[in-house]
Symmetry: C2
Subunit: 315 residues, 2 copies
């Protein structure tokens, strides 16, 4: 099968997704006009066999790579300016695969107002590897470090779906005991995070601290508390769970821990004071408390719950 040359990849596959700052992908760098707002920059790399399955649909892989970055912008109260894509293609890539990858990327670039502004495409003897750097602008940067005792803690939506979706993909027995609808919902949430850019403005105006939940609620909350030199009390019974997540946990109660400590939620963890209330489907799940001890998780009987590990770690 004939394949695109390097120049064709740039001119035919990626230039159509490019914004003005990309200069048609015909220069060495992107050019952004002087910025009157604070600039927010984030980068995330995803690797086949680690962050996704090599045979996942190419459009979904592209969207996931972009969305995990947009999720960081959202959590910081920023609106997207654009993104740069570094793509290392394994030996067996095809034009069809690349076209579908670019089509998925184009859909999201349009949907989220985040044009491609630069990149680099090369070959790898290893697995498909995608690094995206996203830039955004924020009227106010929402730090991890601003949480204060007395702040309410919210999550922007259901927790655990993605980690359970991964469990469903790995555990055929579990998958068989779930309805097709529940299975599809959980797997869909693993494949395709929903960056909460709809909340950027609210967060910039109201949040004292925020972060996106990428490595598990429990561990990411501990990080936010450490950054803010505070601790927290969480009512686990208030943590929102989708119907599908509840169905999975009803089958195997140990999956509750998977939901609370597993990664890939890409909902936002928010601390805010002064009676601010994050709009539904967000839920208030606890409170920031003075102190430096690890956060406390309480069950419905207000008994502390301890987890084997708080979050996903690569190493």
């Amino acid at each position: 099968m004939p394949r695109y040359s390097e120049d064709e990849i740039i001119a035919r596959v990626f230039a159509p997704i490019a914004g003005a700052a990309a200069l048609g992908l015909k220069d060495d760098a992107a050019l952004l006009a002087p910025q009157s707002a604070a600039l927010v920059v984030t980068t995330d790399m995803i690797v086949a066999g680690v962050h996704f399955f090599a045979d996942d649909a190419p459009g979904l892989i592209a969207k996931k790579a972009l969305r995990v970055n947009l999720s960081d912008l959202a959590a910081k109260g920023a609106a997207p300016i654009g993104f740069l894509l570094s793509l290392a293609l394994p030996g067996d890539w095809t034009n069809d695969w690349l076209d579908a990858f670019a089509a998925g990327l184009a859909e999201d670039a349009r949907a989220y107002g985040a044009p491609l502004i630069g990149g680099d495409t090369g070959a790898t003897p290893g697995p498909l590897t995608i690094a995206i750097t996203a830039l955004g602008r924020a009227e106010r940067f929402v730090p991890r470090s601003g949480a204060k005792p007395g702040d309410a803690i919210f999550v922007s939506g259901p927790i655990g779906d993605a980690a359970l979706g991964l469990a469903v993909r790995r555990d055929v027995a579990l998958a068989k005991r779930l309805s097709a609808e529940a299975r599809d919902h959980l797997i869909g949430r693993y494949l395709l995070p929903q960056p909460r850019l709809d909340l950027s403005g609210w967060l910039a105006a109201n949040a004292s601290a925020a972060m996106d939940i990428s490595d598990g609620l429990a561990g990411d909350l501990a990080k936010l508390c450490r950054a803010s030199s505070v601790t927290a009390t969480i009512d686990l019974s208030c943590v929102p769970l989708s119907d599908a997540a509840q169905a999975a946990i009803a089958i195997d109660p140990a999956l509750f821990e998977t939901a609370i400590t597993g990664g890939d939620d890409y909902e936002i963890l928010v601390a805010c004071g002064n009676g601010a209330v994050l709009p539904a489907p967000a839920r208030r799940i606890g409170e920031i408390v003075a102190g430096e001890a690890p956060p406390i998780f309480l069950d419905a009987h207000r008994k502390p719950v301890f987890f084997k590990k708080l979050s996903f770690q690569h190493f």
Copy 2:
């Protein structure tokens, strides 16, 4: 051997290299103040076995990854603001390797005034993969597309050393026929590009077009001409060659084509008018000419020289 945890990699290995915008690498994103100058953003990914050898010294790998990006900033007339690092570590990484990698990175971050402002570290089942995104500010962005008929064409320094250094590494017979000094010079220029940030200010003030020469002088000149809708005449006898490059070409005259079309020079190709003269060791090598045909390369007898391929292509 015990290895750093993911949190230790961030806190102990990379946080010491971080600039203020990194927020101690304790947040989801970097925060840059509003920018009064144009913002220049570039990204390059390098992969073991493609862009470098897996057993190259880790500090040199780190420096090469950063410098290829700083070279793009230099060519655009920009001064560095900082960079983001995405690092995918293969299974066999060690703390010693990572410490040496970070030490090399720290040296260059200091030397070039380009602090680490964010990043992402993860695991890969494949080869070491490094994606860096560098940000800079430019009083004037120097495009590829601004070359005008009558402009002089300069290169900022010797051409071909890096491509010949790669040839020396691959060809033991050639290596044996060179002096140790010539061999070390060529291999050194392959391992460690010298980003010409010293020229940023001059380029912003004087260049009508510029790009860094990463894929070979001949091919990159063709790209600059296409972007500017012009062509060029090059006097090959004016192209500066190091003593070591001349020694290699004296052994095997076919290596002259390697020098002119091989990659990894990271010198800057410049078009400028109005009698502007790029300071030594830069050399004037030709002239921009009206027309859309490919550039013409003339030998010392003003006869056209044709190359088998103009530049390195991954695909």
